[in-house]
């Protein structure tokens, strides 16, 4: 029997994004602009919360007429690209921000985890922070006192519990933070991508705890980019696209549809002008494409090598640039990360050490045949000036398929499991 505990009805949320400011031209204009700045600034700040009816250019709908229900005990995954409205939805449901129109009804105690360690203060001790953070997350003082030992045990920082938080390592801080969060006992839990913290071992512990929560029959709304944990935890999935629900189905089907999203069947994604392309005034992307046998394609033969080409405009002279790529599989698992560094290149890229002039550049990476398994893969492109200075960081910008046309599946035609499918050195010898 279905018993909806969360009902969301035509929920919409409007934001104003700052319109770009015009560059100054002459000295006179600069002075005039400076004098009139207070008036303009006031109008700009005021307009952040004042909206006119009808169409306005710099207004975006982070959520538009979103409706769904969640039954008691259901674990719902929210999937979508960056900016699709996932976090906005959680913020509206956890009352951090108000919807512009529509309404939601929630039955039961809600806790939201948009971040772990909210309100942690470096000067306070671990003990004081547990109480403060617990209260911030909506726990009563008595409840925290009751669970205090359990929280400390789970975090594994017992020895330092009366030490100021600023003396903790960042890993310890995160563990303490998650431990508090993990001991919330709400009827409905709203979680935003908080599992991507701590070391691998602790992450596993967190995921385990999440599974426990899900199995206890609590209602959970879970936002993540990690398809693997979504698949593991959720029963149902909602796909958000530009603030609207484009799919509401089983988690498996929704993930399938999501990975199809933005799947440029052409094997190329390009931007007509720098203004609309990802990047900033230093570098803009022009195009990313997959090329196999000199043809741009979204389908790559598993046994043949292919090239990923990244075209970009360099807009800032005399600085260094380098490009790095990530490949993810359909579960969101990162298969590889590489860059045009000499030490990870077959032949060093001469541009690696060279200062770039302004202009259009192409960096390409050749990936050998018989390396990846068949199936969809997504490409993420980063362009950096230094290792710590990411100018462009895109996620899942282009999807391509590795197809086994039969070249590597003559004997066994079913799906080969695993992320990789290289040709390896097999041999059998008769030993006696």
């Amino acid at each position: 029997m279905s018993n909806p505990v969360v009902k969301v009805n035509n929920l919409s949320k409007r934001y104003r994004i700052g319109a770009a400011e015009k560059g100054y031209k002459t000295f006179r204009e600069t002075i005039m602009e400076g004098i009139s700045a207070p008036v303009r600034n006031f109008g700009r700040l005021r307009s952040l919360t004042k909206f006119k009816d009808g169409q306005e250019e710099d207004v975006i709908w982070a959520l538009k007429d979103v409706s769904f229900e969640i039954d008691e005990g259901e674990v719902l995954g929210i999937i979508g690209r960056n900016g699709a409205g996932k976090t906005t939805l959680l913020k509206v449901l956890s009352r951090i921000t108000e919807p512009t129109s529509g309404f939601a009804e929630i039955q039961g105690r809600v806790s939201s985890l948009l971040e772990v360690g909210t309100g942690f203060h470096p000067e306070l001790t671990g003990r004081e922070n547990i109480f403060l953070n617990g209260a911030i997350l909506g726990m009563r003082k008595k409840e925290i006192e009751r669970k205090f030992d359990e929280i400390v045990d789970f975090s594994g920082v017992k020895k330092f519990i009366d030490t100021p938080l600023k003396r903790y390592s960042s890993g310890m801080q995160v563990r303490l933070a998650f431990s508090v969060a993990a001991h919330l006992e709400p009827d409905i839990l709203l979680v935003d991508e908080v599992l991507a913290v701590g070391d691998a071992e602790f992450q596993k512990k967190c995921l385990g705890k999440m599974e426990e929560v899900a199995k206890e029959g609590r209602t959970v709304l879970f936002v993540s980019h990690n398809m693997l944990s979504l698949q593991n935890l959720c029963t149902r999935g909602i796909l958000l696209e530009s603030g609207q629900i484009s799919m509401d189905d089983s988690i498996t089907n929704t993930i399938g549809k999501y990975l199809d999203l933005g799947r440029e069947r052409s094997g190329e994604v390009c931007w007509a002008s720098p203004e609309v392309a990802p990047g900033n005034e230093r570098v803009r992307l022009k195009a990313v494409r997959v090329v196999s046998e000199d043809v741009v394609t979204a389908e790559v033969d598993i046994s043949k090598e292919f090239r990923i080409e990244v075209d970009y405009w360099n807009l800032e002279a005399d600085d260094r640039r380098f490009v790095s790529l990530f490949l993810h599989d359909s579960m969101g698992v990162c298969l590889l990360h590489s860059a045009n560094f000499p030490s990870v290149s077959l032949v060093p890229d001469p541009w690696y050490t060279r200062p770039y002039p302004r202009g259009l550049f192409r960096t390409s990476c050749t990936i050998p045949g018989a390396l990846l398994n068949d199936g969809p893969h997504s490409i993420s492109v980063y362009i950096h000036a230094t290792v710590n200075d990411n100018i462009i960081a895109t996620r899942d910008i282009l999807v391509f398929y590795v197809r086994d046309t039969g070249m590597m599946g003559k004997e066994y035609t079913d799906k080969w499991v695993g992320a990789m499918r290289p040709r390896l050195g097999w041999e059998t010898n008769q030993l006696d």
Binding site: Y15, L45, L48, T49, K91, V92, L93, S94, R95, I96, T97, E98, P99, T100, S101, G102, F103, A104, E105, I106, Q107, G108, R109, V110, S112, L114, E115, T118, G119, H121, E123, L124, E128, F131, L132, A135, I136, L137, G138, M139, R140, K141, P164, D187
Partner: protein
Amino acid sequence: MEEKPHLTIKPKKGWQLIDFKELIEYRDLFYFLVAREIKVRYKQTVLGGLWAIIQPFFMMIVFTLFFGNLAKVPSDGIPYPIFNYSALVAWTYFANAISYSGNSLIQNTALISKVYFPRLVAPLAPVLAFLLDFCIAFIILIGMMLYYHIYPTIMTLFLPLLVILMMFTASGVGMILAALNAKYRDIRYVTPFLVQFWMFASPVVYPVSMLPEKYHLIYAINPMTGVIEGFRSALLGTVAFPTQMLLVSALVSVILFIVGALYFKRTERYFADVI
């Protein structure tokens, strides 16, 4: 089995009053935020809580030197230092409370944008937390009264009411400043000026009696006038208890509080979006 809370989320229209029920529900958080405010303030300082005394005490020395000794400002027949310090105890509380309160939302940006709690807790926490500093500074006042052989009058019984009046005023101003500050960061620069001007618009370095009697009630529109004059009258017996002035001050203070609360509640819906 306790009944499950039912929550409806929808856009709020128009003016809202303070939701006291909700504030009570979140009293533990309120308590911890006030505790944090107090614990953190003097962490990693050498003098710690002594700063609560040093601030008004050194102000008193400077004012006594310039206004008491050099400018010969009258002090209602009592020594200038205690005349001045009695006002500074209240004034220092007020100045700190509105400054911290006005910055409270900005200070707690991470909280505001990541978790829900009644936003009013943020500006009200410093108003409560600074009461501790007030009490510490007050001890020195008692010491000075013993030193100068000045004894409180029966009107000292009204002291708690004066403190409440002072807190009410600080809350009202703090809420307005905090709400404006969320959107217009100019407030951060306005506040120090405001505090300075307001101090000279209050009888801190000079007595009310310097003004012609007919202006006293107009002067009391500044609620801190009533508070400070009340303090002096009750504790030091300088003038008759200024009942009429206090009524005016109290009225203005309540209006400030209501306006502050209404404005804060009206604007809090967009704090997370603009902060």
